[in-house]
Symmetry: C2
Subunit: 463 residues, 2 copies
């Protein structure tokens, strides 16, 4: 145990002068290629503008499978294949509709969208009084007396003074995920959730919700309202708590359908049975074209493998790009990939996911042992010229997380791009290709390729 660590440290020291130089050169060649002959932007243009939103089970999701497989086929990797996986198929139906009725007959339309996984309203919609709450905990104190027959309006905003917008998101998303299941217990008839968005604008943001073990007959519909809509509703309620809210949606959960993870690999030259994964998720929500979430992560992952190959690097370990299906509303792709890997007794030593938008990369968060994190921190100077400076303990990514069950020793890493703009677009109609900057996207792919290069070359530290 300790001796292997010492060996690694000694090896790093002895070879550091030569390696440092050669690492610098390899990493520079990766960034140069990405910025001058990058492919990721064109791929993302196709995924976004020729295909569009890729909700699991949709025609677009299948087109994305075909397109990315054909592109990977053309890159000369050792193997490209599709891994079948059954995915849920939820459909939004006709556009949702909602209004605030401040007096009988006096209505103001507000932008809403059904949350992913929600049931429909009755065909004629729901109209009811509204109870605004700031948290799920508040429901208990209000109780059935105050909530029965009402629409519960969850309006806790994202916290603007958190520098990480992901932290602000984590602090709010329970309202979206469990709000309907919890409000339903008190007899509420519907749930409206303030969009997870730090801006005030008119875009409702969808996202997954679940009913837990609520029996089907007790499931109430849930929708997101735009932040401007939430502000209006809240103000209107302050003026008159007796206003009514109307909404209508006819979304539906259909039977599961077959889909695929898209996989390509370069076989390792020295340790072919040690597998390193780089990936993003190919599915997206349906409102925008999923350019940031997570078209960007997919094309960056494809690009990372291409950059390693085109710069002439021969990986010691097997490196796989995996485009996971169904991260957004089921995680079936990530779970299936891990299950198949376990079944085949594959040894995964490293996995890197990009699922935080195609913005300027700032670094990585690691779900890994302290030794591995420290090793990565020691590479910080190699990344300095590219302004990559974040090397922290944290989350790897939803799709790669199930691999942890197969191998507790695995290094999971997540690319951490600048997060300030992410939730302006996340799960909304404006998550579109025009909000992608080519260079920012390319820098992300190069940063990923560089980390993979280093972990492949030096290996992960086993316990």
């Amino acid at each position: 145990m300790k001796s292997s660590k010492l060996y690694v440290v000694a090896f790093l020291c002895v070879t550091s002068l030569f390696s440092q130089k050669s690492d610098e050169q390899q990493i520079k060649s990766i960034y140069d290629l990405a910025l001058t002959q990058g492919k990721s932007y064109d791929w993302l243009n196709h995924l976004s503008n020729q295909i569009g939103g890729r909700l699991s089970g949709s025609v677009q999701a299948e087109q994305a499978v075909d397109y990315t497989k054909s592109q990977l086929d053309s890159l000369g990797f050792d193997k490209v294949w599709l891994q079948p996986v059954m995915v849920p198929k939820w459909v939004r139906g006709i556009p949702e509709f909602a209004y605030i009725e401040s007096k009988p007959g006096i209505t103001t339309n507000v932008p809403i969208c059904a949350l992913g996984g929600s049931v429909a309203t009755p065909p004629g919609g729901i109209k009811a009084n509204v109870v605004e709450v700031q948290s799920i905990e508040e429901l208990e104190s209000l109780g059935e007396a105050k909530l029965k027959g009402k629409i519960v309006f969850f309006n806790r905003p994202m916290q603007a003074d958190l520098i990480s917008t992901f932290a602000a998101y984590s602090g709010c998303v329970d309202q979206r995920g469990q709000g309907a299941a919890e409000a339903g217990k008190y007899g509420a008839v519907g749930v409206i959730v303030r969009s997870m968005n730090l801006r005030l604008d008119d875009y409702p943001h969808t996202g997954a919700m679940g009913y837990g073990d609520t029996p089907s007959e007790n499931r109430i519909p849930a929708a997101a309202i735009s932040t401007n809509g939430a502000e209006l509703l809240s103000t209107t309620l302050k003026l008159n708590p007796n206003i009514q809210f109307y909404f209508k949606q006819n979304c539906k959960q259909l039977d599961d359908v077959k889909s695929y993870n898209v996989i390509a690999e370069i076989k390792g030259s020295t340790f072919p049975n040690e597998i390193m994964v780089v990936g993003g998720h190919l599915d997206s929500w349906d409102l925008g074209d999923g350019a940031h979430d997570d078209g960007a992560g997919c094309v960056q992952s494809m690009e990372a493998l291409r950059l390693l190959k085109e710069t002439g690097y021969t990986p010691k370990r097997t490196i796989r790009v995996v485009l996971f299906m169904n991260e957004e509303n089921g995680l079936r792709g990530g779970k299936e990939y891990a299950a198949v890997a376990k079944n085949k007794n594959e040894s995964h030593v490293f996995a890197l996911e990009s699922d935080a938008g195609g913005f300027t990369p700032r670094g990585f968060s690691f779900n890994a042992s302290e030794d591995n994190i420290n090793m990565a921190k020691n590479w910080a100077t190699l990344f300095e010229p590219y302004l990559i400076h974040v090397f922290v303990e944290g989350y790897g990514g939803a799709d790669i997380n199930p691999l942890k069950n197969n191998n507790d020793d695995i290094v999971l890493a997540g690319l951490r791009p600048d997060s300030q703009r992410y939730f302006d677009h996340h799960h909304a109609e404006n998550d579109t290709f025009e909000h992608i900057n080519k260079r920012e996207l390319e820098l992300g792919g190069a940063t990923m390729a560089s980390l993979i290069y280093l972990f492949d070359k030096y290996g992960t530290i086993k316990k």
Copy 2:
């Protein structure tokens, strides 16, 4: 000399535990206030959308002077005033027009704009053969034989593999600045310059150019062409070197007019005669609304002073916000401010400029002594929670640079935001408010206020 340095170091060590905590708190309160009750975004909305492009000498520039003065008046600082300065007045006239004539009568329009300071074409425009060059140096080898009567097309692109887009800009901007003066020496009749833009798109980017000591009768007109236009022109020339290019512009240099630097200050409580400046430039080019260049820097500077005041900090030194007039085509405001300061024997010890766009701040570049730069580097941990990590030697800013002549000891600093998107918008029609992200802008103002706080509290290190 040395003893004062030692004193500072000792002081920092002794008080570090307490100070570190109190510095952390002060800086946190600055960021919190900026992100939750920031004013900069609303100010910039007004500057951009109610006023618009603010070319020196224009009505809009004067409106911007009035507006920012009135806002500063409302913030309760100790003093607000206008500092008169004569500025050049160049006007674009009617929209420019250009086409490539691949065969007689077969024309393709291309987007161009006059460079700032250029002379007009003759009223009927100019039509001539085109010689494409990559550099000013190339002109000499071509000589009058190849250039006389021709339009010179400078087409060296920005270097995509440089991580700092400002470095890529510096590597190209000589074509824009001196291209016409140099090509004119060989009898060229006009100059077309590839826009300083890393993207391929249809926006021509203007910017300052000069004729040096070229007599007026020998000055030839110069325009920028969009990057897509440049690619088209270059390809067309490769197919047929005898194509003609037509362009027409009726821009004009008028007499200088009176304008103003807008200044506000909080008087120092301990060293009122030591002055610290924070600023940006109020003028902009006329094509867009100057949101990034440099409306952002102006509102961030105003906000920095407001944040210090509203968080209850009492500055030891006098802190001034200066909104400089005429950075883009004359630097008259910056020069005048320094001249008046010299005349009044004012002692400026520190100046910070924001003129690199309203993007996520990454850190600072310092034009200062090594001791001062090292002191700033020692504050890096205070900035770490805000992902501020760049503390490098470099440029302060154009407007504050003349202060260096008054006091060689002065610390000049430039805010360094993420630079990837800047030149997509710089000096072009799409430098508009919609491309500003509120949080990124606010983080910049908070970052500036925090640096000012630290330099005020600990003082700069004198030689």
